[in-house]
């Protein structure tokens, strides 16, 4: 038993079984084998029958639970477990009375409690760390009992036989046999005692004691707590031990889980996941794991369990799993509710922004392409923007930020925005021509200044007018973040700023505008201070230089991708997915028609059909960056891409894992191009004629893929790259002419 390490608090072993099953013999043999162990016999706790005459005493039922003084027994075992010496009673089996003298029992690292009904009483069971049940056949039990009672208790064999038939056998069936279900180990009473000791020692070494040696404190904490269910499961998922709390968690405290399947308690939609998890733990010999999963009780009640699971290993083989589980339903529900509330708050905030504060980029405006990102912080800062088309080939853009937070800021932002729309319309129709930018800002200031001063607030903004014919930008900057101008010929950025004060800052203000030229291909970025004033966890500002670097790196991308790139760079820098301040970024690309843009570049996928879903996300996202493309059109391209990637996995890689597939999506004027690369078999459709639709009345289960691709895109190309290893499949789909071709 060198592998067993004893601990400071005694380990209690209970041995139950029929009379004559060999409990006492096994208990003492085990004690000798363990060395430092004490044996307590439940027989010492028979009630004193001194008040009855001898005949009545003989007729008493000694095999029924009522025959024992459970209170004293439990008290003594508790005291021993706490390290105290107890005075155990002694019993005279001839007279059926307690003797006046008691016997001291000292606490030892191992305490072995043996007796008929040791597993009967729940309070005793609760104290036992290991529970053993000895099985034996009736004849062996009777023969042993006759021999013992004659030898030790001076009783007549016929009286013993009569008592056996009258009391022992029925009582065994009624009280003793049912306790076998609590046992953590069942042993055969007919086995040689050395065999039983060996098995029991091994069990001790691998179960309870092994659990304790490395982390006794944790085990104590977990077992001691009334909230934890404790159970042992075989590697194939059958309960072989469970405590009362485990049953109580499952709504039936009186029903042990032993013999039941663990998986029946896991919520059906989680079963595969949970089983996979534990198979993985067993396969990898991971000693301890923690998993939270939804369970369903006997009564059909849905709960969440947090389960600590430790491997039980014997000779390097996993022989079982010890689990300590806690009902975490309340915590889970609370966490879910909190998450839900926060999510709703952000949703409400961003809904306000999208409805009242954010304008819509004009679609299909020639010679200008717009991308935008607008994220609401949890506090709502009152960022707003809008686009005004007051005359053909002129686009006005206003972007602003109200000082303050919350609903008042949002309302003020909405009011400012609508003042601009109204003033622009009014002045244009009254004067028959476009008002100058400075005049427009001046008028809105005059209308708003009273309210702003009353509310002690002000508004920073940029009002920008793009004249697409003259290729000029005229802007009034009122204390807002500086507009960034990327020049296609140098690849560098300059910042445009003005000297004007924010709206509402002073009573009387005149606004000065400035004008600059731009070239075809230039990019302008208008943004809120949520971009440049975002801070890293160390408190460092994102700043204009970082923004400039992002723009210079990605300015040739589609404006939508650039706006998202700016937002992603800010999120990475600040380490937060929800910005601390509202974040708005508008990207305007001038004359991009001759340009070619990468919408998704060099994305890599594994040769696994489960990757199809991720690929579809990329292609959908790429389509969304092209304003002229609608959802139906995008889904057609997504389906064609899906069929193509399926074909690559199945026909180029023969469904073998571990290979890769490259994806890029680009846009050219009026066209989207999806291109897959792979290094597998150079598959291509056999025939050069158009694929035809399979005859559905034959219930074909394949053969649709190529037909669909042909229907969904305008052109499919199969190529071998110059390296002679990489193949490419390219799908071309046009969007401007789709209506006439359909």
């Amino acid at each position: 038993m060198g592998t067993v390490t004893a601990r400071r608090t005694p380990h209690l072993v209970g041995i139950a079984g029929a009379s004559g099953s060999g409990k006492t013999t096994l208990a003492h043999a085990l004690a000798r084998s363990l060395g430092d162990a004490a044996v307590v016999s439940l027989d010492a706790y028979y009630r004193d029958l001194g008040h009855l005459d001898q005949a009545a005493r003989e007729r008493s039922n000694f095999d029924s639970p009522e025959a024992f003084d459970w209170d004293r027994c439990v008290a003594d075992l508790r005291a021993l477990q706490c390290g105290q010496t107890v005075q155990r009673p002694t019993y005279d089996f001839t007279t059926h009375t307690s003797r006046p003298e008691t016997e001291p029992v000292e606490p030892r690292p191992f305490l072995i409690v043996e007796g008929l009904l040791v597993l009967h009483h729940p309070d005793v069971r609760a104290l036992l760390d290991t529970m053993v049940f000895l099985e034996v056949d009736n004849q062996t039990a009777l023969d042993r009992r006759i021999a013992r009672d004659r030898r030790e208790r001076g009783r007549d064999p016929d009286a013993v036989r009569a008592q056996f038939a009258r009391d022992v056998q029925p009582m065994f069936e009624r009280y003793v046999q049912p306790t076998a279900r609590w046992a953590t180990l069942a042993l055969a009473g007919t086995d040689p005692v050395e065999t039983s000791v060996g098995r029991l020692s091994a069990h001790l070494a691998t179960t309870a004691v092994a659990l304790l040696t490395d982390s006794e404190a944790r085990f104590r904490l977990l077992v001691g707590s009334a909230n934890d269910g404790i159970y042992r499961i075989t590697p194939d998922g059958i309960f072989t031990f469970s405590n009362r709390t485990a049953s109580a968690i499952m709504d039936r405290p009186e029903t042990p889980l032993i013999g039941l399947s663990f998986v029946r308690f896991v919520r059906p939609d989680w079963r595969r996941k949970v089983m996979r998890f534990y198979r993985w733990q067993i396969k990898n010999h991971t000693q301890t794991t923690y998993l939270e999963f939804p369970a369903v009780t006997f009564e059909g009640r849905a709960i969440w369990l947090g389960q600590n699971t430790q491997l039980e290993e014997m000779d390097g083989e996993v022989s079982g799993l010890h689990a300590i589980a806690r009902d975490i339903t309340v915590q889970r529900d609370a966490a879910d509710a909190l998450g839900e509330a926060r999510r709703r708050e952000i949703e409400a905030a961003s809904e306000i922004q999208q409805t009242f504060l954010h304008g819509h980029a004009p679609h299909g405006m020639p010679d200008i392409t717009i991308g935008s990102v607008a994220l609401a912080s949890q506090d709502i800062d009152g960022d707003f923007f809008d686009f005004l088309c007051l005359r053909e080939r002129v686009l006005d853009v206003v972007i602003g930020d109200v000082m303050g937070k919350g609903i008042p800021a949002a309302l003020l932002g909405a009011a400012t925005k609508s003042h601009f729309v109204r003033a622009a319309g009014l002045l244009t129709s009254r004067e028959g021509r476009l008002p100058s930018v400075s005049r427009l800002v001046g008028k809105v200031h005059a209308e708003l200044v009273g309210q702003l001063r009353e509310l002690e607030s002000f508004v920073t903004l940029v009002y920008a007018r793009f004249d697409l014919t003259a290729r000029t930008l005229t802007l009034v900057d009122c204390g807002h973040s500086r507009t960034l101008h990327w020049h296609v010929d140098t690849g560098r950025c300059t910042f445009l700023s003005g000297e004007n004060l924010p709206l509402g800052f002073v009573q009387r203000a005149t606004y000065v505008e400035r004008t600059c030229d731009y070239r075809s291909g230039d990019v302008f970025v208008l943004y809120s201070d949520g971009v440049t004033e975002a801070r890293s966890p160390d408190g460092i500002l994102f700043g204009e230089q970082r923004l400039q670097a992002v723009v210079e790196r990605s300015a040739r991308q589609h404006p939508g991708a650039l706006a998202e790139g700016v937002q992603a760079a800010v999120a990475r820098f600040s380490g937060a997915t929800t910005p601390a301040d509202d974040l708005t970024c508008l990207v305007l690309q001038m004359d991009r028609r001759t340009e070619r843009f990468a919408l998704a570049t060099d994305v890599t996928f594994h040769s696994d059909l489960a990757e199809l879903d991720r690929m579809r996300v990329y292609v959908r996202a790429a389509c969304m960056q092209v304003p002229a493309v609608d959802e139906d059109w995008a889904e057609e391209l997504v389906l064609a891409a899906n069929e193509t990637m399926s074909n690559i996995i199945c026909h180029a890689y023969y469904c073998k894992a571990g290979r890769t597939i490259g994806l890029s999506v680009t846009t050219e004027p009026d066209t989207l191009v999806v291109r897959f690369t792979h290094t597998g078999e150079r598959y291509r459709p056999r025939s050069t004629t158009k694929p035809s639709l399979p005859d559905l009345t034959e219930f074909p289960e394949s053969g649709f893929g190529l037909y669909l691709i042909d229907q969904l895109v305008h052109e499919t190309r199969y190529e071998v790259m110059p390296d002679q290893e990489t193949s490419a499949v390219t799908l071309v789909k046009r969007y401007h002419r789709q209506s006439e071709e359909r």
């Binding site: 139906d632 389906l639 559905l696 009345t697 669909l708």
Partner: protein, 112 residues
Amino acid sequence: MHVEIETRGEVNIVRPDLDAIDASNAKELKRHLGELAPRHPRMVLDLEQVGFLDSSGLGAILSVLRKVTAAGGDLKLCNVTPPVRALLEMVRLHRIVEIFEGLDDAVRSWDQ
């Protein structure tokens, strides 16, 4: 794979809890529904959850259609999302499988 099955009289309503039916899961779905077909040949496939269907998903539907037809029953579809409907129409599946707007219409169609 979670597939919800609801029985209304002799009609079995099958509702796959999948956002997309593609080559990664069509085979399993086909097997699952194929096992149901002989016992429950009157089947309604409720595609409310399914936002994407590809050619292998089509194959699965046709396989189930073959099996329920062989067992003397029929397959009907309902709650089809727009992208899925576009695909079904492109391969003209709507000509051999009845597609209903709502579940109740599909179930009731057997009464007539």
